[in-house]
Symmetry: C2
Subunit: 797 residues, 2 copies
């Protein structure tokens, strides 16, 4: 702590919020967050952007994955401000609460639900447009190419295929690289990010890259929620007075959570899975009221999507509209399973866990590599995307040639070879009456390929070698496509690869079971999702809602449990890996065992910076300039009170508002009475995506510096506190359960000052704790968190 | 506070745990908890039982419904001890943690999962046996009666029907009234409760009472978990050393939660709904690790149930085994819906909300009445049950006679009239070639009736008058059957009544929609469940898993949202009403707005009882005898430390262990060093269902009373604390989020004693707060919680 303290401005000390120190390696778009910190062109712009991208950081406090999902899945992202859970209770806010009438509360209530309704509707619209776009763009591409193939003009077909994929990829990347950051710099960024996200996502998925729509849609949902929760964009006067009823962060954060859920609901047309996703990823701070609102939001998504699809049924949406609400319906096959099916299914789960954890491992390595490449500049981002799309196109077009043509089955209900876009029997280079089973897999949209793999009664349509080749190709294409600077999701590639993996297992050992290979494919998807993402309930419900097959439920659950357990033995889930890669100060959900042996006084060190209840302006300015702290205890000293008394905690952001308003007094006396006349709670409401106040921007005269300011009305009088003898483990539980950013440490005895320290997230990080107490490192009964073992995952839950 | 303090022993003061004061109106079995407090035969026995039934009380701290569900749904219940979330960190425990090796931790880990596995398996077995029993007992009854009816021996049929229902009901009631409390008094009560629960449930449901299996199964699941979590029964040496690794309450509580989820999973063969049920009802303290374990448990239930049903497929289970995993499969009908269907569906939701809230209202009234009747003694319980079963039998047998026979449809696929037990076309009193549609509804098991109502393509099979009559009858039969002294659940009656209600709406206004009446029935069930239980996500998933129809999802979600919203405007959900009826000190999930205007010092009053670090035995005994407090702050005074210092919090239970062990010292000096030699953590582990220690049972000589005891090793050194200026609202958040029972209040300035008060759940209760500050009552902008308005539900979420 002491060395940090001495770094002066910017670097967080005891009272600092650690986010302030992150070198903003944050998302602008795509996975470009991995190189955001190296992208800085001009200082001022970059400074602003960093502040703006200070994004979602409080999500890092959550158990795990909202950061991950909303921030890491990779898409055009809107800058979402760091949001608190804790309600600030200072006099200004309290007076405002007391003044609120029934009308206000009714309006507030109506607004909350109306915003959820809007978020649901807009997310559904985005999901619909994304689907419509992909189906049409990719559809036209495949129809044109297939027609050229039918005419046996293979070179032309390849040229068209490669060129369209290349152009689409470059378009998506250019949007992300050039437009999105510019949009971020020029105001109303979320709206642009929203639109860019949809367009970029359509282009990327249509370009036959192995990326999914779910990640971008989660982001888009969160963006919509963020725009609405902030009450519009201040800079462009696009604010809405109504919307500004959301004066506390909690409501905004709830809305963003609902938006993320709506994204999943829209992507998979799976509303219940959307709720569970929001729930499983934000598990530490779940309130039943939020459950109910998330449910409402995803229900709106489902109803709106259903209505839009209904419109398309009549064929008015081009190539889109055949799917209906269920994406991969597998109800057609009769499902029966017995005890003999257990060994193959268990094998599937075990191997799925291994493959899933390897996926995470490879993804980690590839992203580190991409990080380096992308960090070299915008041209490199484009070059990288170009390389990957060309390789992908070559694989997709080239690999099917390796495959021997199969004669069309005599008894097939489908046309063979398939006509038009989808279908199991792609003709490709084959003679009439034959089909290329590898082309049926490669030369299709991801959704159609999944549908083919899930289809029942098709056990003999595929060669073992084809499935093996496709599995390997899609496994690695998925890994290499994710880190590009374009909107991309992980969900669909995993489902696709998992389906191929499941079929493969079905072909190899399925003869000992009665299960159809299509069902093996469904289970394979579940196994790989479980092995990589480790979310149990939401993945289970996603699989259910995708396939509409409840009878499979026991097997899906079994596979998920096995693959998650196996994979947990090797590494962390994909989101945790990404969070680590990004360097977020990310608090674990559980306390490490050695934390029980420490008390909070063991980690709180360094000089504590406090303010008096009535403080000299010059001192405040000095402290704000020389430290990066975001919260300061306010202690009333003898002139004001009889003995030193803890009054509360004041935030840097609020101090800046005070200094800007210059509501100073000349003498050291209380002026609390008229605070509410000069300030309204709106003044303290967190800025949306606008420019952040900085102490350097506030100009004060020498006279003003000598004046005083009464901090009492602006001090949060109800900060959470612990006694210095409290064990670190229990303080951590408090910190996380209540969702804190600052925790005051009180003395156990009466002889000392009323507050002896302040804890931030940083002080709970294992690196910090073990840095202060290196002997614990040795005494730990396990060396996880620094090693590869999964004992933490196992034993601390 | 002060008056409470003066009541002396037994009545809780500031430091008391309020549970100790509840006059144990707790469950023994069935809904008999409503009269448990009046049942006391002999003092000693009753005393013991009260202590034992002090049951689940800490569940009351949870958001809502585990108490409700597990405790109130009504079945034979096992005594589940009050369980804490907070980990006690005293020296004895800490030494033990440090001493634990890798083997211990591995074993602990294995045990946690093994217990979940066992809970899942045993619950699945219970669910299977219950189903098997009901299907066979009720089946035989209906077959015999139907055969008599076919022979037109109506009087004999009625006699057989009435007699069998009467005997089954009396059997279930007698089990509950006589056997269950006896079992409770004689050890291993949970095992007996478990078996009685299953048998009683089979008898009650087979007796054609309008009660369900879900409630009892939730209870049975919780019982199994409780038995295993306690490590068996100590009294009968049926403990297992392995099981006693669960030394903290949190693990036990988690296990009980998983057990409750397993119960729902077993009752409806709906594993995902089971997880969500556990989650939605225990929402305030949800950890993702628990989610994962609950998922595992319900997966085990699903797999085991699936395997058992597989065995029955071959016909080895008598009349059981046709259902498969999906109870009410409605996939057969083609489902399509359009915008025109919205008005009828919305109407359905609105009316469902009204009916659901009325259901709660009537249930509340009837239970109050039953409470009075049952309170008069065991004979009255039997008489009440007898009355209800006779009325029910008369309704079921009598009402179909009002109905005109319908000619069999020519094109029906089913046999008409139906043969045997189930079927849509009950012949009843009709001539050959005709059927009685009312008998098809009444004269069936509940499950079969639901199946009939859900069946598609049957729009013309029922008269409007039949459906109306059946709806009214089942609505009120459900209400009148619930409070009887036998295992009964609310879920199935609501589904049944809702299905009739949905059909009714479909018949009345369905002509304007394209929906099948069977689908209206499904939506009607959702509407009534939403209107009464107000659980959104779990009810939604229950309906999905019951009917296996994902295409309905948007409509089901819509109906649920509407009916819950409408019903919330009238009264609280059924579980909250029951909790209130029972008088649990139940902490709301949210803070009332007026709590923001109070600080904790406004509600902490009365003299605070503290102990010194090294305290005189006589003083401890005196304090324990004269107060009912369950926790005492330990403050080191000048002989031991320089200034008064807060050392921690010691629990009454731990003090009793100390006094019993008589490990005293003769002088006031520290003896902490050898504490671990004399005590092991096992000594402090909470007793399962065994006898509770009481201070009166400990005999100490006058010499011993003059000795000292060193409390340091036994004091929880990490109690949670707040400063006296903390707002009550934020203290409540801490109290609930972290799951506390005691919260120490510290002074804001240094001049006073290191601890100035202690908060328990009682101090947060609106009644207590408003009693101290009556002016707030007037200033509240709403008078909810005491009135009927639902503004709280609306605005505080």
């Amino acid at each position: 702590m002491a060395p940090r303290e001495q770094q002066g401005g910017g670097s967080g000390g005891g009272a600092a919020d650690p986010e302030a120190d992150i070198e903003a390696p944050l998302i602008s778009s795509g996975s470009s967050f991995f190189f955001q910190d190296a992208a800085g062109e001009d200082g001022e712009e970059e400074q602003q952007r960093r502040a703006r991208w200070r994004f979602l950081s409080s999500f890092g406090r959550l158990r795990s994955n909202v950061t991950s999902q909303v921030a890491l899945v990779g898409t055009d992202v809107c800058p979402i401000e760091s949001l608190d859970y804790e309600l600030i209770e200072n006099d200004v806010f309290k007076q405002d609460w007391r003044a609120r009438g029934r009308t206000h509360i009714l309006r507030y209530f109506a607004l909350k639900w109306a915003l959820c309704f809007l978020v649901g509707t807009l997310t559904a619209a985005a999901a619909f447009v994304a689907n419509l776009g992909v189906e049409n763009v990719a559809g036209v591409k495949f129809v044109v190419t297939s027609n050229l193939m039918l005419e046996r003009r293979f070179e032309s077909a390849f040229t068209v295929f490669l060129a369209s994929n290349f152009l689409l990829t470059m378009f998506a990347t250019a949007l992300t690289v050039y437009v999105a950051p510019a949009a971020a710099g020029s105001g109303i960024p979320e709206v642009k990010a929203y639109l860019n996200g949809i367009v970029g996502c359509i282009a990327a998925v249509s370009a036959s890259l192995h990326v999914g729509k779910a990640g971008p849609l989660v982001h888009i949902g969160a963006c919509i929620a963020s725009i609405l929760g902030q009450g519009g964009s201040r800079k462009y006067q696009m604010t809405c007075k109504w919307l500004r009823y959301f004066k506390n962060d909690r409501d905004r954060r709830d809305l963003v959570t609902c938006g993320a859920g709506a994204g999943i609901a829209g992507a998979f047309r799976a509303p219940v899975a959307g709720v569970l996703f929001a729930l499983e990823t934000v598990s530490s701070r779940w309130r039943s009221a939020l459950l109910w609102r998330a449910f409402f939001t995803t229900a709106i998504v489902a109803v709106v999507l259903r209505a839009l699809i209904d419109v398309c049924k009549s064929g008015r949406c081009g190539l889109f509209g055949k799917g209906g609400l269920i994406m991969f319906d597998v109800t057609s096959g009769y499902i029966n399973y017995h005890v003999v099916d257990l060994p193959p299914v268990i094998t599937l789960g075990v191997l799925g866990g291994v493959l899933g954890s390897l996926y995470n491992l490879f993804l980690d390595k590839v992203l580190r590599l991409y990080n380096v490449i992308n960090g070299k500049g915008q041209t490199y981002k484009l070059l990288l995307a170009a390389t990957v799309t060309i390789c992908t196109s070559c694989c997709i077009f080239g690999l099917p040639w390796l495959d021997a043509c199969k004669p069309c089955p005599a008894d097939s209900e489908e046309a063979c070879p398939s006509i038009g876009r989808s279908g199991n029997f792609k003709k490709f280079q084959c003679q009439p009456g034959e089909y290329n089973d590898l082309a049926s897999l490669f030369f299709n949209t991801n959704d159609d390929t999944i549908r083919n793999l899930y289809s029942s009664g098709t056990d003999h349509e595929f060669h073992l070698s084809s499935i093996l080749l496709f599995f390997l190709a899609s496994y690695f294409l998925g890994i290499f496509s994710y880190g590009l600077a374009l909107p991309s999701g992980l969900f669909v590639p995993l489902i696709l690869t998992g389906a191929a993996y499941g079929r493969l297992v079905g072909m190899l050992i399925g003869s000992q079971s009665t299960l159809d290979h299509g069902l093996f494919a469904v289970l394979g998807s579940a196994a790989l999702l479980g092995g990589s993402m480790r979310m149990t309930v939401s993945v289970c419900v996603v699989m259910l809602e995708l396939t509409n097959n409840l009878l499979m439920l026991p097997l899906v659950m079994l596979v998920l449990i096995i693959s998650k357990t196996v994979a947990d033995a090797f590494n962390a889930n994909v989101y945790d890996l990404l969070v680590k890669l990004k360097g977020f100060p990310f608090l674990e959900g559980h306390a490490e065992p050695y934390m029980r042996q420490l008390s909070v006084s063991d980690v709180v060190t360094g000089p504590l910076q406090t303010f008096s209840g009535i403080e000299k302006v010059g001192h405040i300015v000095h402290v704000l300039k020389t430290t990066g702290h975001n919260g300061f205890p306010v202690v009333d000293e003898p002139p004001v009170s009889d003995t030193p008394e803890l009054y509360g905690l004041v935030l840097r952001a609020h101090l800046l508002v005070l200094l800007r308003k210059k509501d100073f007094v000349s003498s050291c006396t209380a002026s609390a009475a008229d605070a509410s006349k000069h300030f309204s709670p709106d003044d303290f409401a967190k800025r949306g995506s606008g420019k952040h106040d900085r102490i350097e921007d506030i100009e004060l005269t020498a006279d003003e510096m000598e004046m005083f300011v009464d901090l009492h009305p602006f001090t949060n009088t109800s900060p959470y506190t612990v006694v210095e003898t409290m064990s670190l483990a229990k303080a951590l539980i408090l910190f996380r359960e209540v969702g804190l950013r600052h925790l005051l440490v009180l003395p156990k005895s009466s002889k000392r000052s009323p507050v002896v320290g302040i804890l931030t997230r940083h002080d709970f990080m294992p690196e910090h704790v073990l840095g202060l107490h290196p002997y614990l490192f040795k005494s730990r009964w396990k060396k996880v968190r620094f090693g590869k073992s999964a004992f933490t995952n196992f034993f601390c839950h």
